[in-house]
């Protein structure tokens, strides 16, 4: 059996199946939806950070832009939700295209510029001068399209596509070439790889994923403010989840989300500062003691982790 088929059968299918049946068994649908959203975002970070090495510190920019893309279509054009979700993905890609020059920057410079870009988009959307289009800082209310269960299944479709995309990267020359670019772009170009094209492809793919996720999030919650959908926590959580599990693998980000977001919800929201403290310490411990993620515990022993 080819590896790709194994990965689909033993990782993708069970994951989607579990999240497809869980709403019938478990009451807290919002929590399930958040799990799916973070699974999508963590895999989106995996595509760009794990496979190309660019740390998208402002990843939430695509998510928020997607949410507002959805909102603008629904508010001003009365679009059906599915069309608006596709438009949200398109908005993510367009923002990604606009930001492609950032890929010329390396290391910390890229991360910081990306963070600044996401904050710029936030302040643009939240600007009272644009109230006519985005409702500025006053937030949007999209009661017309409100349908959480449809939104949930749409999120599962996007999750399927995203994890499917990562399975492809893990099993194709394309994914191998991306990793080659990450390791050494000069050597990669001497292996015949068009470095710029590869980076842009991965960048736009991860922007698309976050844009779609943002659109679906807007559909699901239907009432939100700029600060909600551009919250830096989306970027940080997605990055930390992906790193905690281990990037450039299919299973790492999934494990990361299931464990860390699970812990997050166990600790609860009652005292946010204690939560923040524990989380901060966890992040520091992760970087200092397990920089290659949980999967590295296995790979260090020579076990292969998909």
């Amino acid at each position: 059996m080819p590896n790709a088929v194994k990965h689909v059968l033993f990782i993708l299918v069970p994951l989607i199946a579990v999240f497809a049946v869980l709403p019938g068994l478990y009451q807290n649908h919002l929590l399930l939806f958040n799990f799916v959203t973070f699974l999508i975002l963590a895999q989106g970070v995996n595509i760009i950070y794990g496979f190309t090495g660019y740390l998208p510190f402002g990843y939430v920019g695509f998510f928020g832009a997607g949410a507002y893309g959805f909102a603008v279509l629904v508010m001003h054009y009365q679009s059906p939700a599915l069309v608006a979700v596709l438009a949200a993905g398109l908005v993510g890609v367009l923002l990604g295209l606009l930001l492609t020059p950032l890929l010329r920057l390396s290391g910390a410079y890229f991360a910081i510029a990306n963070l600044a870009a996401s904050l710029a988009v936030l302040h643009l959307v939240a600007n009272p001068a644009l109230e006519g289009i985005t409702k500025g800082p006053y937030g949007v209310s999209l009661t017309g399209t409100f349908n959480p269960s449809h939104a949930y299944y749409a999120a599962l479709v996007v999750l399927t596509l995203t994890v499917g995309g990562v399975v492809f990267l893990k099993n194709s020359s394309f994914g191998l070439a991306l990793q080659a670019v990450r390791e050494d772009s000069v050597s990669a170009s001497m292996a015949g790889v068009n470095v710029v094209k590869m980076r842009i492809a991965a960048w736009l793919a991860s922007a698309l994923v976050a844009g779609l996720a943002g659109g679906i999030y807007a559909w699901y919650v239907s009432v939100f403010y700029p600060d909600n959908v551009f919250s830096g926590e989306f970027s940080i959580f997605a990055i930390v989840f992906a790193l905690f599990g281990g990037v450039a693998t299919i299973s790492g980000p999934i494990i990361g989300v299931l464990i860390l977001y699970g812990v997050y919800n166990l600790i609860g929201f009652t005292t946010p500062q204690y939560f923040q403290l524990i989380y901060g310490l966890l992040i520091m411990g992760l970087v200092l003691f397990l920089p290659a993620g949980l999967v590295s515990l296995a790979t260090r022993r020579g076990w292969h982790v998909p």
Partner: protein, 307 residues
């Protein structure tokens, strides 16, 4: 109005230079992105609040106190965190995440002890030491109120913060160019690997730079309640991004370039505030992106940082 905006821009700019200086020193020497930089500023502000609340004296006394405390904290933190980080596969990238975690810890602990309410210090308290000395020596009445520059009145704390920043920048210059440790620091900044190979105690140089970087941030923080009106534990994150804009503007890895970056940033900030106030929030981010794309090495930089 233009004169006012320009002078205020320079005053704020000098202060912004101090805000960014420590971040740049740390990045320049260690290639570490200290995302907790803004949180150290926030803690510096709390030192000033503490000095006023507990001792009731001029918050200027918080300047040496904040510097010394965070110099020590910085050196300690260096030894705990950095050598381990440098041993990893991609320290520059992981430092972003590590120090993000640290900033969360700092913010959480501060919130646990101080709550989330906004705190400020009466601006007339700052600089009372000067007017007291003046009254003692020359008699007369203690002056309060704005300081006049080019026919315009400016709040006294702005001028005092700008003056302190100028002194601090001067001291950083003296440290880097007139002391032995400073010379070694510059050697590490330009070529870390060669500095290691030539037997320089890179860890000691880096620990000092890290301590000084945090100390400078804390000193900048002492003035934060006056410059920004009030302070909350969540102030740190915004301050970090602003610091980055300033540092990148000047030139990443060149601490003295930060002085220029700060002034340019301050003047732009005041001009936008004056003429286009609803877009002022966008400024740091747009400026940061533009500078990174158009002149990635900063206004004074020579090294180009392109992937």
């Amino acid at each position: 109005m233009l004169t006012y905006a320009l002078v205020a821009g320079v005053l704020f700019g000098l202060y912004f230079s101090l805000v960014g200086m420590g971040l740049n020193l740390v990045f320049g020497v260690m290639r570490i992105v200290n995302l907790a930089h803004g949180d150290v500023l926030m803690l510096g502000a709390f030192v000033a609040l503490g000095v006023v609340a507990l001792a009731g004296i001029d918050p200027l006394f918080a300047v040496p106190l904040a510097f010394m405390v965070f110099l020590l904290v910085g050196m300690l933190l260096y030894w705990v965190l950095v050598p381990r980080l440098q041993g990893s596969a991609n320290p520059e990238m992981l430092s972003i995440i590590l120090f993000f975690g640290l900033s969360q810890v700092v913010e959480a602990i501060t919130t646990i002890f101080a709550g989330t309410s906004e705190r400020s210090i009466q601006s007339r308290l700052l600089g009372t030491v000067f007017s007291t000395i003046k009254v003692q020596l020359f008699g007369g009445k203690p002056e309060t109120g704005p300081i006049r520059i080019l026919g315009q009145g400016f709040p006294a704390p702005w001028v005092i913060a700008a003056g302190t920043s100028l002194v601090a920048i001067g001291l950083v210059y003296v440290y880097l160019y007139r002391t032995r440790l400073g010379t070694l620091t510059r050697a590490v900044m330009s070529r870390r690997d060669e500095a290691l190979a030539s037997g320089i105690d890179v860890d000691r140089v880096s620990a000092a730079a890290f301590g000084i970087g945090l100390g400078l941030a804390a000193v900048a923080g002492v003035f934060a309640p006056f410059m920004f009106g009030s302070i909350t534990p969540a102030f740190g994150a915004d301050a970090t991004v602003t610091s980055f804009a300033i540092v990148v503007l000047g030139s990443l890895g060149n601490p003295l370039g930060t002085a220029l970056g700060g002034v340019v940033y301050g003047v732009c900030y005041m001009l936008v505030q004056t003429y286009l106030s609803s877009w002022a929030d966008l400024l740091p981010y747009v400026l940061l992106i533009l500078i990174l794309l158009l002149r990635p090495s900063g206004l004074l930089g020579r090294r180009v940082r392109v992937a």
